[in-house]
Each structure stands twice: as C-alpha cells, then as structure tokens.
C-alpha cells in the first residue's frame, strides 16, 4: 500500500505493516483524547518511523494516489485534538 506522510513524502509499504500502523493510530487517538502530550509525541514518532524505515520512497514522477495519509511530523497535540473536533488541519 502507498502511505503518505503529510508535508514529507510518499512510501510504498508492505501490507504486513498495516495492523501495527492501525494499532499505533488508535493509540494516538487515545493519547489525544487523554491530552497526554508525551505519549502522543512518542507514538506519532513511532508511527512515522515505521513508515520511513520499512517503506520505500515512491518515485517523484509516480502519480499514484495514497491509500493512507499520516499527519505531518510537526503536528502538535492541540492540532491533533482539533483534527477530531471539526476544523481539521486544512480549513476551508
């Protein structure tokens, strides 16, 4: 599957990693709901590291669409919370 890390790059990642990615994603949601910045940062870092380490960067002239788009690396806890409460990262 193709995974994009927002503001960074697109990666081709084996489907084997999907369950772990999903797990981390759900844990991040919990951390955001609990307002736990430390855990949130750590999990987000882990999720992005998984994609960067296990994935292959997609060529620049490849126009395929991503199946999954992960948030940008510098996402703050506040922004993540907004992401769930409506406005999201890209208003309008």
């Amino acid at each position: 599957m193709i995974v994009r890390i927002a503001t960074e790059d697109q990666y081709e990642l084996s489907d084997d990693h999907a369950p772990r990615l999903n797990e981390l994603d759900n844990a991040i949601v919990d951390a955001v709901r609990a307002g736990n910045d430390g855990t949130f940062r750590q999990l987000l870092g882990e999720m992005l590291a998984l994609v960067r380490d296990k994935g292959q960067v997609v060529d620049d002239d490849d126009l395929r669409e991503s199946e999954v788009i992960l948030p940008p690396p510098d996402l703050t806890l506040e922004e993540a919370a907004e992401e769930f409460s409506g406005e999201g990262l890209i208003p309008g």
């Binding site: 994009r4 927002a6 503001t7 790059d9 990615l21 999903n22 994603d25 759900n26 991040i28 949601v29 955001v32 620049d60 002239d61 490849d62 126009l63 395929r64 669409e65 991503s66 199946e67 999954v68 788009i69 992960l70 948030p71 940008p72 510098d74 993540a80 992401e83 769930f84 999201g88 990262l89 890209i90």
Partner: protein, 257 residues
C-alpha cells in the same frame, strides 16, 4: 483507518476534489489541472522567498542583539568602576534579557532554515510530479479513446492533486509559523525603539538612560576633579603656572564617552 490517519486522508481527499474542478471535456480538465499546478508552483516559490525574508530579518535582529549584549556589558563595567552599583545592576539585568532573547532568536532562525529546506524539497517534488503529469497528459491525449482517457485523466489528476494538496498543507504550516515569528520580531523591534537596546556608538538622540546616567557620573567626577584642583591652586596661593593644566582639562567632560 478510523483514527488520525483516516481523518488526514479524508481531509486531503476532500481538498483534492476541490482542486480538480473537472470539466466536461477531458482535455479541458487536463489543461485546467495543469494550469493550477503551475500556479501552485509559483506560490511555493513565493512562500520560500517569504521564509527567506523573515529569516534575514531575524538574523539582523540577532546581530543587533549581540551588539547590545557587548554594549550593556561595557556599560555595566563603566558604571561599576564609577562606583554606581545600582546602574551596573540595571545594565546587567538588561544584558540578561537581551541574551535570553538572543537564544530564542537563534532557535527561530534555525527553525526557519528547516522550513526553507522542507519547502524547497516540496517544490522539487511537485515540479517532478507536474512534469510527469505533463508527459502523461500528452500520451493520454494522443492514445486513448474518450472513455479510457476519462479514467486515465482522473487517475493522473488525483495523483498530482494529492501532491498539490500536501504542498498546500506544507505551505500553510510554514506561513503560520513565519507569521508567529514575524509578530515576535516586531515585538523585539518595539523594545529597541523604546531605547532598551540602543547602540552605544550613537550619541545624542541615540543615548539610552544608562548612557545618560553614565555621562552624568563622568561629568560629576570631572567637575569634582576640577573643583579639587582649583581648591589646591587657591590654597597654595601660587599664580600662573597651573593654569595651563586647568585649561587643557576644561571642556573635556562633554566628550568623554
């Protein structure tokens, strides 16, 4: 994925369909989409120039602050050797503020450098995608039947549209950060205008209150010296000879420091 990745995907995809206003005629869609891509590329260039401008401004402020730190240190020494501990303390307090501000400025400059590098990378990637799209668009126009072309165009446009949406996001984040830094830079400039970090070499209107107090101190001690000398002269009763020395001394307090 229902979580944050799912939200991101949904939001970006909504953005893509807004970016790609599909026309009835497939080749029109292609040209329109290509125009939009070129426009965005121009915007990214402007964004990078903007970040560079902000960075330069912060670097300039950082240099000014460095000068202030040196100046305030000198002022503190001058005040202390003149026996005015309170004035020395004031100068040192300001030096502390200037140093703290300097540290945070330097950190902001390096943040902007990262932003600049990131945007430049985004620009290059978008340029490659646009080039790939341009090639594909010619192939589609030449080789495919109307029905197939629709599908191919849709695919290519979505792929490049995703990149466009992502670059748009990166731009927006860079601009937000730059905006915050600008506000802070203005605040530092206000401080400078208020005379907190004035340059010592500027005399006259450029003097700050520490300068003025130091000057008063110097003037006071020069007056005291002259007074003491006069007292000695009068007391000794001697005439003529010391006048040369006294003459050379007069007027000097004005230009000391």
């Amino acid at each position: 994925m229902p979580g944050i990745a799912g939200r991101m995907s949904t939001v970006i995809k909504a953005k893509i369909s807004r970016l790609l206003d599909r026309a009835e005629d497939p080749s029109e869609t292609l040209e329109y989409s290509y125009q939009k891509q070129i426009e965005l590329l121009q915007n990214v260039k402007k964004g990078i120039a903007d970040v560079v401008t902000s960075k330069k401004r912060l670097q300039l402020q950082s240099q000014k602050l460095e000068q202030s730190v040196v100046k305030l240190d000198t002022q503190a020494r001058q005040a202390l050797s003149a026996g005015n501990e309170e004035l020395a303390r004031t100068a040192l307090e300001r030096k502390q503020i200037a140093q703290t501000e300097l540290q945070s400025l330097d950190q902001q400059v390096s943040e902007l450098e990262q932003q600049q590098a990131q945007l430049t990378e985004n620009e290059n990637r978008l340029r490659s995608k646009i080039e790939a799209f341009r090639t594909k668009k010619e192939v589609i126009k030449a080789q495919y039947s109307a029905a197939d072309a629709q599908v191919k165009i849709s695919e290519a446009a979505t792929g490049v549209g995703e990149e466009m949406a992502d670059v748009g996001l990166a731009m927006q984040r860079a601009m937000d950060k730059t905006e915050n830094l600008r506000a802070r830079a203005s605040a530092v400039e206000e401080l400078e205008k208020a005379g907190t970090f004035e340059d010592l070499t500027q005399l006259g209107s450029g003097e700050d209150d520490i300068d003025r107090q130091l000057k008063e101190l110097t003037t006071d001690s020069a007056v005291d010296n002259e007074l003491a000398r006069m007292k000695t002269e009068l007391g000794s009763g001697g005439a003529g000879a010391p006048a040369i020395e006294a003459g050379g001394e007069s007027g000097r307090p004005e230009e000391s420091r």
